[in-house]
């Protein structure tokens, strides 16, 4: 027996390893990335396969293939990633699986680092797949093991949907050391039922609907749903992490209530809910995001001709946007119980004005130079800069302000193409990273070439997937499990797509990179500039720069144009702090040549 401090994502990975997972696939995305990182680190020792797939659709399809051959397989992603994987997901529900297939989709209410606040439980309902919602890292680990069993029992993929506060929370978790029991592989058996045809879909839809009731029955007995009865008239139903907030809020307020913890939001088990209806005079449903449990509870009450009042999102007692926490839930419960909401005891005096601290590109980030170069090269034109998902979305911040649009992974190129159809005389410049290019940029590039769009595509190749924690991708000789034999050359790939103007330049070399930018912008048809320079958080620091105040004109160009966190206004003029990475970009834009390498006279 050992005790480990594990993050929710690590706990999920350990749970999968304990369940004997054989194939695990993912594309990184906060807050889900550490699931595959942990699995990849365990893979060799435990004898399973783990990969970073090029996108979530690929991840789910690879996992599905493995499951067809009888293996236990897992695909992990964030909620937005499920949108990319929705095509295989919907069909897979009809086809079904053989080996247990667990799809872990991390939701981000808040949202802390996402484009949407969408609720994966709704997606599960839409796809008619059972979904589990853990309250804690320890429960997430147990749910993964249960989910594999359930998947094999129902022959359906099962979704585990943790939220940020489970994924990125740590908890002490007890382990009994021991290897997962070896699972003999049955292999893929040829059968017409693997090939989706309209006639098969029609038949399987009936089956899929029947499985909903089967899943509901299994959930009646699941230990993840727990009813604790109190003599009070109040009944609270809480789902996922909200359960923690409800428990703690009750403790803080001293109020009593019967509490039904729901860990299986869809299909909702009926037994415990009906039992709560018998005990409580009024019911409050507390869950984050959409009223998934609440709507099912209301339907159940109506079917059973129950008139107990039900509060939650539908009557706006619980907010439908944003993340819940103990304070918000306490106020909700107070109000629901007819109490004055407890104000903060001895509220502190209002704080003085605090500085805004938006995230910025790191000191030495090569993207800063790339944006600067293209802004400079396009000066005087009305070029539109379309952005994409990654660190470089931060190019939107002042002073660079070089991102005019950002929609979703891979959309920079296609949005630029669309804009170009309407404004053919304007230049559109699409920026995206190397990992994003492989994820879903390539399809857009082929489309742009095929349809002769007059756009420039800038691939910001920093040789990693930086924002999510430096995962490898096909452009590197590195996989999730270690060194790889081959890699895909981005420039060669772009040329093979039929792009005539392709240049690879170093963004730290402003002169050469600017020349490539100008040429690319002036060429008809699609042109591609690959700005290649390793991510500053992985590369070795160069020689620190300092400012020679004797030469400095105090023009503030270094501060006002670049926004580098290493350059600040000092008392006597600009200063470069110890954060300096030594990229030398500021020295190249200084009109007085006042920025020198440290130690230089």
């Amino acid at each position: 027996m050992s005790l480990k401090l594990l993050m929710g994502n690590e706990a999920i990975a350990y749970g999968a390893a304990e369940a004997g997972v054989q194939v695990a696939c993912a594309y990184p995305g906060t807050p889900s990335s550490e699931i595959l990182e942990t699995l990849a680190a365990l893979a060799r020792e435990k004898g399973f396969y783990a990969e970073w797939s090029v996108n979530e659709k690929a991840a789910l399809e690879v996992a599905a293939g493995a499951s067809y051959a009888g293996a236990r397989a897992l695909a992990a992603m964030k909620q937005v990633g499920l949108n990319a994987a929705s095509d295989p997901l919907m069909s897979l529900a009809y086809i079904g699986v053989k080996g247990g297939l667990v799809i872990v989709v991390a939701d981000d209410p808040g949202p802390h680092s996402s484009q949407t606040e969408q609720d994966t439980r709704k997606f599960a309902q839409f796809a008619k797949l059972p979904v589990l919602d853990p309250a804690t890292p320890a429960e997430a680990r147990e749910m993964v093991k249960y989910a594999f069993e359930l998947s094999e029992n129902l022959l359906l993929p099962v979704i585990l949907r943790p939220t940020t506060r489970t994924c990125h929370a740590c908890q002490d978790i007890e382990f009994t050391d021991g290897a997962a029991p070896a699972r003999p592989l049955t292999g893929f058996e040829k059968n017409q039922n693997w090939t989706i045809f309209p006639s098969l879909s029609a038949r399987k839809h009936v089956w899929l609907n029947q499985q909903q009731e089967k899943a509901r029955e299994l959930f009646e007995k699941a230990e993840f749903n727990q009813l604790s009865i109190d003599s009070s008239n109040i009944g609270i139903i809480a789902c996922g992490v909200s359960y923690n907030y409800v428990r703690e809020a009750l403790q803080l307020s001293g109020l009593k209530a019967s509490v039904l913890k729901i860990g299986t939001p869809y299909p909702l088990p009926r037994g415990p809910v009906l039992e709560l209806f018998r005990k409580a005079g009024k019911i409050l449903v507390v869950e984050e995001q959409e009223p998934v449990v609440e709507d099912q509870v209301i339907a159940l009450a109506w079917q059973n001709r129950l008139t107990v009042p039900i509060s939650g999102k539908n009557d706006r007692t619980v907010p439908r946007e944003g993340e819940l926490n103990v304070d918000r839930v306490r106020a909700i419960i107070d109000k629901f119980c007819g109490r004055e909401p407890a104000g903060p005891e001895a509220a502190p005096a209002p704080a003085p004005e605090l500085p805004a601290r938006p995230p910025v590109l790191c000191a030495g980030c090569p993207h800063r130079a790339s944006f600067y170069i293209f802004k400079d090269a396009a000066r005087g034109t009305d070029a539109v800069f379309t952005g994409d998902i990654g660190c470089y979305t931060l190019g939107a911040m002042a002073p660079l302000a070089a991102v005019d649009t950002c929609l979703c992974m891979g959309a920079s190129i296609t949005i630029a193409t669309g804009l170009n159809r309407v404004e053919p005389d304007r230049r559109q410049v699409a920026f995206l990273g190397d990992s994003t290019f492989f994820h879903s940029g390539l399809t857009g590039l082929i489309n742009a070439v095929y349809n002769s769009a007059n756009i420039t595509v800038v691939i910001l190749d920093n040789c990693t997937t930086a924002m999510t924690g430096h995962q490898p991708h096909p452009g590197l000789k590195q996989t999730a499990m270690g060194p790889a034999r081959t890699s895909v050359d981005i420039a060669g790939l772009v040329k093979a797509c039929g792009v005539e103007y392709v240049r690879v330049v170093d963004p730290y070399d402003l002169k050469a990179a600017r020349q490539a930018a100008e040429e690319a912008l002036s060429r008809p048809g699609p042109s591609v500039v690959i700005m290649k320079r390793e991510c500053a958080t992985l590369a070795k620091k160069g020689r620190r720069r300092t400012i020679n105040l004797k030469k400095c004109l105090n023009c503030s160009l270094c501060i006002g144009k670049l926004g580098c966190p290493a350059i600040r206004k000092g008392s006597g003029g600009p200063e470069i702090s110890a954060k300096c990475f030594g990229c030398g970009v500021c020295a190249q834009i200084c009109p007085a040549g006042a920025i020198e390498a440290a130690g230089q006279e």
């Binding site: 005790l3 401090l5 906060t30 807050p31 808040g110 802390h112 680092s113 804690t136 940020t164 506060r165 990125h168 929370a169 740590c170 908890q171 002490d172 992490v241 359960y243 923690n244 907030y245 428990r247 703690e248 403790q251 803080l252 926490n325 103990v326 304070d327 306490r330 903060p344 005891e345 001895a346 502190p348 005096a349 704080a351 003085p352 004005e353 605090l354 500085p355 805004a356 601290r357 938006p358 995230p359 910025v360 790191c362 931060l394 911040m397 002042a398 002073p399 924002m467 958080t537 501060i559 006002g560 926004g563 580098c564 966190p565 350059i567 600040r568 206004k569 110890a578």
Partner: protein
């Protein structure tokens, strides 16, 4: 036993690592633990708040407002931002060092150090200031502020673990090559607070 600690700082200062060290030290004392932080867009330079909860019975990982026993501020303005989490009568250990964001250099927002220090003093009975930048420099490495801070915390009475336990837990997260420097940083932080605590008593 129940202890809630908040660490506020800026991405890149090692607050997440410090939260893990605290949690593991508490675990060794037989307490249940939970930690929570949000990472993502704030990897570098953005505000980071870590929550560490330890006790016999725990629910969620987020500390309610006005409930934390300690607020460890690795950066001055972020300490003020995190003050909403501290319970009345709780203890603040605040770094005097400012990490001035780019928004201030560009003239978009303001950073008034003296006002912030004054506010912290006025709002709290128990506030201890550390010159984190100087103290970590003394340890031999400018990026040991988190170790200095943990050392400072370890000087307070009533913690569920001994200073040696916390130090051992911290070192378990670091490569061997950084052990000596961090051990020194921890001691420097500890001594800095011990001197002040003795003056009070």
């Amino acid at each position: 036993m129940k202890l809630d600690i908040v660490i506020s700082g800026v991405g890149g200062q090692g607050s997440v690592l410090a939260s893990r060290a605290l949690a593991r030290a508490a675990m060794e004392s037989g307490l249940a633990v939970r930690t929570s932080e949000v990472i993502g867009m704030a990897q570098r330079e953005g505000p980071v708040t870590s929550h560490i909860r330890m006790g016999d019975r725990l629910y969620g990982a987020i500390i309610p407002d006005r409930a934390a026993d300690f607020l460890l501020g690795l950066e001055l303005a972020e300490t003020v931002r995190g003050l909403i989490k501290l319970k009345p009568g709780g203890t603040v250990i605040a770094s005097l060092s400012a990490i001035v964001p780019v928004s201030v250099e560009l003239g978009i927002s303001k950073y008034d150090k003296d006002t912030l220090i004054q506010y912290l003093i006025e709002q709290n009975e128990k506030v201890f200031f550390l010159d984190l930048e100087e103290l970590s420099r003394q340890s031999g490495h400018p990026r040991t502020g988190n170790a200095v801070m943990l050392g400072a915390l370890s000087a307070f009475p009533g913690l569920p673990f001994k200073p040696e336990q916390l130090l051992r837990s911290l070192l378990s997260y670091l490569p061997q090559s950084l052990a000596e420097i961090n051990r020194r940083a921890f001691e420097i932080g500890r001594r800095a607070v011990e001197v002040t605590l003795n003056d009070i008593n």
